[in-house]
């Protein structure tokens, strides 16, 4: 006898026992049976039917009104049964979608994988964590043929799958541009044209592109409407916002970008991020950029990778481990 058949027989026994003794134990048994029924997709009207059959067998010849009322109940349960079936099939579909999305997310990880270049005088730490399965933030680090290090941080409008699809376009364009060892200004101008042609109205991307030249210690950079990063000046011992003007990518095809430069000295630090960092909310209140700087300061003495990990952990705790937005943080420390 399978479990189900056993439960059906057991139902009658438990019912009898309960009617005769009003015993709590049989109510507990009923609870267990109902769980087993749900697991086996037994519909509510089938249970009412089972109840009717059990009553007929246990107390034949009892009041006809009771049985009629039971049939009535059975009829009213049918819609619940249909709703339950619908719920079951939605659950299956949801599981299917979930597994498709996790396949896509792991494809995205492979596709967008980037490794941190080894530079003698620069300690680089990177962390990027998606709020949901797919990441709408993008970062890319690349060593050019001339030995310069290209660092891109981007945020695609919106989250989830549409953002992730847009990302592969950026990656491939960016790879072909950085091959030509162009400067940040030209890279953003070229990328902007590609994005403008390929995204629908109202969609856009923000990007900060920096290029570090180890032989001169100069960081060249340009921004396409991206959240400003921070520069720590070791000599002055202060943090300042890296202000770079520029329109977001994908809105106007002939946008020109301004290029800026910064000479990095020993102990200096550059922090690049996305708005997932600066738009953290604590109990519904937004944190201010001074607070972000304070947190970064607290961990700045650590090696760059450890520092970004700690900063992330801090903000994760602050938001009770529920990221609202994708979170990307890059830290570059000039050692020598």
């Amino acid at each position: 006898m399978d479990t189900l058949e056993f439960d059906r027989t057991n139902y009658k026994e438990l019912l009898k026992k309960y009617i005769e003794t009003k015993d709590e134990q049989s109510l507990y048994g009923a609870e267990q049976i109902s769980k087993s029924f749900i697991k086996n997709n037994i519909l509510p009207e089938e249970i009412v039917n089972l109840h009717i059959q059990a009553m007929i067998e246990l107390y034949p010849g009892k009041s006809k009104e009771i049985y009629s009322s039971m049939n009535f109940l059975l009829e009213t349960m049918i819609s619940y049964g249909l709703a339950h079936q619908e719920y079951q099939s939605l659950r299956e579909k949801q599981l299917e979608l979930q597994s498709e999305i996790s396949v896509a997310a792991s494809m995205q990880n492979t596709l967008l994988a980037t490794s941190v270049p080894k530079v003698d005088d620069l300690d680089i730490g990177v962390i990027s964590v998606p709020a949901h399965q797919m990441n709408g933030d993008y970062h890319h680090l690349v060593t050019g043929k001339d030995g310069t290090i290209g660092i891109a941080v981007a945020d695609v409008i919106g989250k989830g799958i549409p953002a992730a699809l847009c990302m592969s376009m950026i990656k491939y364009s960016l790879e072909s541009f950085s091959e030509q060892s162009a400067n940040p200004k030209l890279i953003l101008e070229n990328l902007n044209r590609v994005v403008e042609r390929n995204v629908e109205t109202g969609m856009f991307i923000t990007m900060f592109y920096a290029q570090y030249n180890p032989s001169t210690s100069i960081l060249h950079y340009a921004s396409a409407g991206h959240e400003p990063g921070y520069y720590f000046n070791a000599e002055k011992n202060n943090f300042e916002e890296i202000n770079a003007k520029g329109l977001v990518l994908g809105v106007s095809s002939d946008t020109k970008y301004e290029q800026y430069e910064l000479t990095l000295n020993k102990g200096d630090m550059v922090v690049l991020l996305t708005d997932g960092v600066t738009e953290c909310r604590n109990n519904g209140k937004f944190i201010e950029s001074e607070e972000v700087i304070e947190v970064i300061k607290n961990y700045a003495h650590l090696p760059a990778q450890e520092a970004v990990n700690q900063v992330y952990k801090y903000f994760e705790r602050l938001q009770e481990f529920q990221l609202k937005d994708d979170f990307t943080l890059i830290m570059m420390k000039k050692n020598v």
Partner: protein, 110 residues
């Protein structure tokens, strides 16, 4: 958090008063209300953002779409009463240069 959208038509302008948060969840609602208004040739739409405390990039996307649509259809759209945080977003993204934002008229709480 929800977004309340209040549209009142005056003889020469359409006033759109927004209240709440503009994010990925409320942006489609705003788009559905705002874009049809921009399709009307010759109208002037003024969007009051005094009671919008939060807006994310999806909100910016709606205003870019509205701007493009108004240019194509010969209408005009202006934003005013922006809170500091919202204004900062337009400035960082460079969109304040494209979209007509009235910076003088700002909410008392700024």
């Amino acid at each position: 958090m929800n977004l309340e959208i209040n549209v009142t038509e005056h003889p020469d302008i359409i006033l759109v008063q927004l209240s709440g948060e503009i994010d990925a969840y409320t942006a489609p609602q705003l788009k559905d209300k705002l874009i049809p208004l921009t399709n009307r040739k010759g109208v002037r739409i003024e969007v009051d953002l005094e009671n919008v405390n939060y807006m994310d990039s999806t909100g910016l996307g709606v205003f870019i779409s509205a701007l493009k649509s108004s240019k194509e259809n010969g209408s005009k759209i202006t934003l005013f009463n922006l809170k500091d945080r919202v204004q900062r977003l337009f400035k960082i993204t460079g969109l304040h240069q494209l979209i007509d934002i009235n910076l003088d008229e700002r909410g008392v709480n700024n």
